[in-house]
């Protein structure tokens, strides 16, 4: 690895080592290792079918895996999805998976479903409405009746309501207008400034790398490049393969 992350010794928040996973005996991920440090934004990029979503599903324990996943000193391999969630590993899933027939407010409250500290939940709700003023206007509206961009905001807000240690955002830009995606990236930056660590999984390589600190590039189930995001953008191999330059 290159860059300052190497020079200053820090303990990673998430350390994935030699992870393998697949569907019904068919391996998809091979020997994936990656690290995410506290309060970083890390991009995981790659084209269609590279295994990004499979990796996310393995990390969130929706899919069985081999190898090790350590979050904050806890070994996640062998845990169930709700146990991993309990340790603060929260997803913003691909396709948002909102509760369409519930109001925005109820969706957000479902995010805090597992939390016991009511006072902190109310505080976070206020904070999140400040972060997403659009959702404040629509808090009584049914989530399914909003535009795609607003739904994506709602999904991110719902994840934040779970007080995540690590927020994993899957294909945020899918089907959204570039201007909306740009707004969402700004929100992610604000979330990161607030101390939340973000793992951003994206097909849009340029977008993800331009907003992140570091990046990992996946291809056919393996990590093929990694490093500082700006170095990756300038890397001729990455440029040729993904940026069409």
């Amino acid at each position: 690895m290159s860059g300052p992350a190497d020079l200053i010794p820090r303990t990673p928040l998430l350390k994935v080592a030699n992870l393998g996973a697949g569907y019904g005996g068919m391996p998809v991920l091979h020997d994936v290792s990656l690290e995410v440090y506290p309060a970083e934004m890390v991009a995981l990029v790659g084209s269609n079918g590279a295994g990004k979503t499979t990796l996310l599903r393995a990390l969130s324990r929706m899919l069985p895996c081999s190898g090790s996943i350590v979050l904050n000193g806890h070994e996640l391999a062998g845990m169930t999805p709700d146990q991993a969630f309990g340790l603060g590993l929260v997803q913003v899933p691909e396709g948002r998976q909102l509760f369409d027939r519930m109001t925005v407010q109820d969706n957000l409250l479902m995010g805090s479903y597992r939390r016991q500290d009511q006072a902190a939940v109310n505080r976070d709700l206020d904070k999140i409405y400040t972060l997403f003023p659009r959702l404040t206007e629509r808090r009584r509206q049914l989530a399914g009746s909003m535009s795609g961009g607003e739904q994506q905001m709602c999904a991110m807000a719902r994840a934040l309501m779970a007080a995540p240690v690590l927020m994993m955002v899957d294909e945020m830009s899918l089907g959204l207008a570039p201007v909306v995606v740009q707004q969402l990236m700004e929100v992610l930056a604000a979330i990161q400034r607030d101390g939340v660590t973000v793992l951003l999984v994206e097909q849009d390589v340029q977008l993800a790398l331009s907003g992140s600190d570091r990046g990992y590039v996946m291809e056919t189930g393996r990590i093929v490049h990694h490093g500082q995001a700006r170095d990756l953008i300038d890397d001729p191999a990455v440029q040729q393969a993904y940026l069409g330059l």
């Binding site: 999805p81 709700d82 929260v90 509760f99 027939r101 479902m110 479903y113 597992r114 779970a162």
Partner: protein, 315 residues
């Protein structure tokens, strides 16, 4: 709930509890049937209404509860209460063992898989000597209709209080989240497999208790009547008619449909089924979300409510 609503519910409960004192024998018998159907509809409400899994396997729980009581009382000479516990244990074991594989299925596939369960149970029980094979079991008679009536009413009250508690609990919110978007629920940290199996088992507990009371009341039990699929259809219709996923809807649905059905079969006898069918069709067309939704929305939208429903479903 507001104070006047609680008052209304309590008044209705007192009125119902008093039926054996001021009502005729026929009314008490009708009441036992209607109340047990209401319990079944409430049981279905937990898995079908709140969790969103349209179970056709709840008549199996009913049958297991009935056989639990019958086997305990006839074969082992144990008291009724022990039989009820035995029936509930059978239902819970069944719910857990079959729920784990079957609850992986969704929508139509879940309905079909559970539909097969009651057929299978009929075939199995017909060959079990302990259960009287296909001849069935005759229970010791207890000629005390008021007691059965109050037992059924008590069971319905407990079932309804349980559901009311559910709607205010973390567990209940988890079930609703599963109904609204199962993947979303899993992503938000709901242990969906556990919750679904628990809901299925809880639904089974109430169905089994209803089956146990019914078996002791009727004093006769055979595989065909115990695992009757039309009973399952009935509880679904009643729950959906009243309003699935509401606390009181299934009760209102069960009691009103029982009354309509009783009235029709005494007035037009042989073609009662036809008229009953018409009532169901009209209900589905005019108020697909049940009485509870209609009452809630009728105040705001007035008669437009019905025309909107017709238009919304392109009928």
């Amino acid at each position: 709930m507001k104070a006047w609503q609680i008052g209304m519910v309590l008044a209705a409960l007192l009125l119902l509890a008093g039926v054996p004192w001021y009502g005729s024998d026929v009314l008490v018998q009708f009441g036992i049937n209607a109340l047990l159907l209401a319990v079944l509809a409430q049981g279905w409400n937990i898995i079908g209404g709140y969790t969103g899994y349209a179970s056709f396997g709840n008549s199996v729980f009913y049958g297991l509860g009935a056989y639990g009581v019958a086997i305990a009382m006839v074969q082992w000479q144990l008291p009724f209460g022990v039989g009820m516990v035995f029936g509930v244990v059978l239902a819970v074991v069944f719910a857990v063992l079959l729920g784990i594989p079957v609850l992986r299925l969704k929508g139509h596939y879940f309905a079909i898989a559970t539909l097969a369960l009651s057929q299978v149970m009929t075939a199995i029980v017909s060959n079990v000597g302990l259960a009287g094979q296909n001849i069935g079991l005759v229970l010791p008679p207890l000629n005390n209709d008021p007691l059965f009536y109050e037992l059924s009413l008590g069971l319905l009250t407990v079932a309804t209080l349980t559901i009311w508690g559910l709607t205010r609990s973390r567990f209940g919110f988890g079930l609703i989240a599963i109904r609204e978007n199962e993947e979303g629920a899993a992503v938000m940290g709901v242990n969906t497999t556990l919750y679904k199996v628990l809901a299925f088992a809880l639904s089974g507990v109430f169905s089994a208790l209803a089956g146990g009371i019914h078996a002791y009341w009727i004093t006769f039990l055979d595989p065909d009547s115990a695992f009757d699929i039309s009973l399952n259809v009935k509880m679904i219709i009643m729950a959906v008619f009243g309003g699935p996923g509401t606390v009181l809807g299934p009760i209102v649905g069960a009691l009103s449909l029982s009354a309509i059905s009783e009235f029709l079969s005494s007035e037009v006898t042989s073609i009662a089924g036809l008229f009953f069918g018409l009532v169901i069709v009209a209900a589905v067309v005019l108020m697909p979300r049940g009485l509870a939704d209609m009452i809630r929305r009728l105040r705001k939208t007035g008669w437009r409510y019905f025309s909107e429903n017709i238009r919304a479903h392109r009928l």
